[in-house]
Symmetry: none
Subunit: 201 residues, 4 copies
DNA sequence: CATGAATGAGAGTTCATTCAT
DNA sequence: TATGAATGAACTCTCATTCAT
């Protein structure tokens, strides 16, 4: 099981410095999602944390780095989680179910992080080196496996990957804007069913 | 006959308010999509057009208004187009096919506009009064009709609406990032097929 | 009798150009008094008149000149009026009464002009060449005459001049801010009485 | 012992927020009186102080607030002083003498502040809540007291208040423009005498 | 580690003025 | 004469970042 952003039990054991750094990260995440990266000032972040502007630079080299750390660490960590839950299952259907569940869990546990990684900043993923696995790669791996194993019909794997992602991300978006009221995890079976129909599994 | 230093055509172009306004709109659209709204400065826009910063304010009251005009006009007009092509067809399948085609046409004719309306700024749609129909409304209308007519099974219309939109928008995104090479219109039948499977039509 | 800013009967006989110029002057006067010189833009003036910005420059070489014309013409003309009414009277008391009446008449006929000349822009008077008579000069002449003729006791004429002006201008100010409700002309005898006590006439 | 490049005194001066704030206030006061509020730019102020433009905003939220702080603080405090010196005296004549002296003292000690409060920005006093006592109120209180006590004849207190103020302010103005050479305090007895004649005390 | 005054660059915007039409 | 698009300089203000303390 992955730890999103910070685990409470470790925080207790840590010194103030580490704790401040995590409070900065969390405040930044919240504000970046709420107002956007450019619209969030260093002062917005530090005054939310209750420190002065200069203090932030003890923990992060700058605003860009802060945003990037926030993104890349968690983006990679979520991709790893996706692959981990997929590898544990055999058969396309089970794998899709497991991945959908992982998406829903992330959303329900930490909607801000979900938004930041997958809706707001997901165009930042181009900055990652190609060797790093992203959530998109994890889904594509699943799709390609499914085609090679004959679980689903052969087709352009990129189109199928995008379609599957699209279903989950757009439903998440609808949930954020209040058009859908149920938590994502409550809908995981429905979402899985839709995904399997998309893939004709 | 006198030969002016500037040809009449050039002079007309320089002095014609309409034309300048449209060149500003287009430059702004391009830059907003490329770099984002906040990251695009007035100077970026005007120097792309070849005018000074102050000149922009004869055509738009400010940066926000420029972005909003760009968004609202085209967003509403695309929603109208979606409804128009849908109304012309009977049956859920035909209606979905027509709407998918409209999405693909917009994308291929003007990918920047597509991105601006549906990927970059689509969260601005909340600022529109509820009486105005958006593309999301157009898709939802189609879904609700399909359920009422028995063309598709009853389910949460919001989830289905989001899923259908997700398929199209995420495939468009993959195309923009170069993961897919075919034009969207070339894939319209595939996209329609996926959408119909999503809806179990 | 002097004509403040423009006489209606002449305006009728004039061409559009002259009439526009006077409408510009009047609009500028109003706005300068209401909002201040720096806070009034060319656009404020021209849109009040109903012409475009460029058109103003057919009538005035620039904003500064417009303000200066407005000030100097009327300031001198009012100084002339003051001297005219004073010369007609013999004895300090009669002269003061006549001048107070002239101040009150200007205020009641054209409070904006009064404010502009005597309250708002009166520090511009330093730009006038010393050979030109100002309202302050007119009052000082009266004071000096009164001292030389033995109508009033000898003292620093500048202090007395300032005091007399102060009484009139500050009462006018109180009237503008609504602290006094009567028209200035209604109070002219009271004001004259106060002025004569100031001068110990 | 280490000798720093900048002496401690200098370093303290540069880093001491209080001191900088006061230097900004003083520079602004000087410039507002010399050139007017609108004609004074932030750059004018900060370059007079020897800091950059942005630094001003750590001490004041903006230009308007700076001007307003400058005005309201000192305006109220001078009104309090006026009332204080008046309360200490019995009888209209003594009270007027005390208040005239207070005006003269302010003028001679800080002519810029006098100008700013009473000549340049005094129309800002309308922005103060009615519960706050202004110098005008202080003078009016004295006038009303004098009438009620029978020290001076009954008349419109607003007219008398304005007249008394007018004498002092216009003499101060004449002094500023160099028409009068004596310091105001040197003339305080003359001014008092004039004021008493105005009020027929 | 934290403070917060200061920097310096750049943001959006306004405005007096010009000039081709 | 009038128009109004365009200029160019100035404006107020914001912000990421630095650094003496």
């Amino acid at each position: 099981m992955i730890v999103y952003l910070h685990s409470e039990f470790r925080a207790v054991a840590l010194r103030d410095g580490r704790e401040t750094k995590e409070r900065i990260s969390r405040a930044a995440l919240t504000l970046f999602v709420q107002k956007g990266f450019a619209e969030t000032s260093i002062r917005d972040i530090t005054s939310a944390v209750g420190i002065t502007e200069g203090a932030l630079y003890r923990h992060f080299p700058g605003k860009d780095q802060l945003a990037w750390d926030l993104f890349s660490t968690n983006y990679i960590s979520f991709a790893t989680e996706l692959t981990r839950v997929r590898i544990g299952k055999s058969g396309f259907s089970e794998q899709v179910a497991a991945m959908v569940e992982a998406f829903c869990r992330l959303f329900d546990q930490d909607p801000e992080l979900f938004s930041y990684l997958l809706l707001v900043q997901h165009n930042e993923s181009g900055k990652l080196p190609d060797t790093i696995k992203t959530p998109v790669d994890a889904v594509r791996d699943c799709v390609i496996d499914g085609m090679e194993n004959g679980d689903i019909p052969k087709a352009d794997p990129e189109v199928l990957t995008a379609s599957l992602l699209g279903v989950v991300l757009q439903v998440a978006t609808a949930r954020i804007y209040g058009r859908i009221e149920k938590g994502l995890s409550e809908m995981k079976d429905d979402l899985t069913a839709i995904c399997l129909r998309v893939a004709q599994a």
